[in-house]
Symmetry: C2
Subunit: 211 residues, 2 copies
């Protein structure tokens, strides 16, 4: 502070809400960081390092941190996007001619999306909080419920299945998509089909009550 301070021009106030318009380079960097992070976390899982994200985005660490105050925030943003994609798929699944095809494709998709993204997979497995928030935000509970009800109404899905079983199944599937456990490697599509067979009506009627 040397002499006079110019009056603040209240610049870029055109945006609705409280947020201010980002400078052009800032917006560009934001994109770059997200893109780089998406790839790194998908490939290396949650252990991918912030400095690597920065490097990979051609940006300094500081920049990454201005856009996402913590690693956790960055991950949450990525996860939110993936769950949005999932919700979209669920909506499509509700439009299929055949109800069984809808729900079974959705389940296959859950497995595939995790097979393609190790980071997502790890969040599912070890970050209940993040995942739960994202799922709710994307409206997945509601969507799963509708998928289940519809397939039950058409008589193709066992009656004793509850929508809560869907995230559970997705979660279990996620893990093996990543399994490099010798004999299990690359066999996950088989488990998907086994589970789907287990879901077909009428079922054995022995599902335990949820506790």
């Amino acid at each position: 502070m040397t002499t006079a301070t110019h009056k603040r021009p209240a610049s870029g106030e055109e945006l609705a809400g409280g947020r201010r318009a980002l400078r052009a380079d800032a917006r560009r960097n934001h994109e770059a960081v997200i893109a780089a992070a998406k790839k790194l976390f998908a490939d290396q899982g949650l252990d991918a390092q912030m400095p690597d994200v920065a490097r990979s985005a051609n940006v300094g660490v500081g920049t990454v941190y201005r856009h996402f105050p913590t690693k956790h925030d960055l991950i949450a943003a990525l996860v939110a996007e993936r769950f949005e994609r999932l919700a979209q798929k669920a909506r499509e699944a509700l439009q299929t001619e055949d109800a069984w095809e809808g729900i079974s494709d959705f389940i296959r998709f859950c497995a595939q999306i995790q097979a393609d993204d190790r980071g997502l997979c790890e969040v599912m497995g070890s970050r209940p909080d993040v995942m739960d928030a994202a799922a709710r935000a994307a409206g997945l509970p509601e969507l799963c419920d509708r998928l289940v009800k519809r397939a039950q109404r058409s008589g193709q899905l066992r009656r004793d299945l509850a929508w809560e079983d869907i995230p559970m199944i997705a979660c279990g599937l996620g893990r093996i998509t990543q399994a490099t456990v010798g004999p299990a490697t690359g066999r996950w599509p088989r488990l998907v089909e086994i589970i789907l067979d287990g879901l077909r009506a009428p079922g054995s009627g022995r599902l335990p009550r949820c506790p």
Copy 2:
């Protein structure tokens, strides 16, 4: 080294092999460390810390490290023991009157043992190497193969199942036993039964080939 060095008495050479008999307190501590580690890793997962293991065993960190040169070694020892237990269960399962009961109980047991041990569960999910070694050492591939063949011979298990599918299933189940993912919490016994339903003969015949 001040004056004369007594001749080494080549003490405690009674043990076969190269290893020397452990001093009484050393043996005691070894047990204590294992016991403490078993509990800590089961409760807190692989993130449990070495200093905590030491404290919980009433022992210094140094002592833990004399018995297990690295954390990894300690974990491997614990895992080996769990897999031994698994193999034992598999052998029992081969003795049941009914073949289906044998294999289905074994699968339930795989889930339960992981539900009770978060550490084991995490190893299954993220330490292919450790897990693979332990499984082979315990003879599990062979045992799974026999369980599968036997249940197929009796016509109760779908024909297109391979023994490699068993570790895969166990692995997938392991994860949800730990899931604290809102809606999925505590529902894993349901997934076990769904999968078992999916395994019953004759099956839909659509299992993809392993790649």
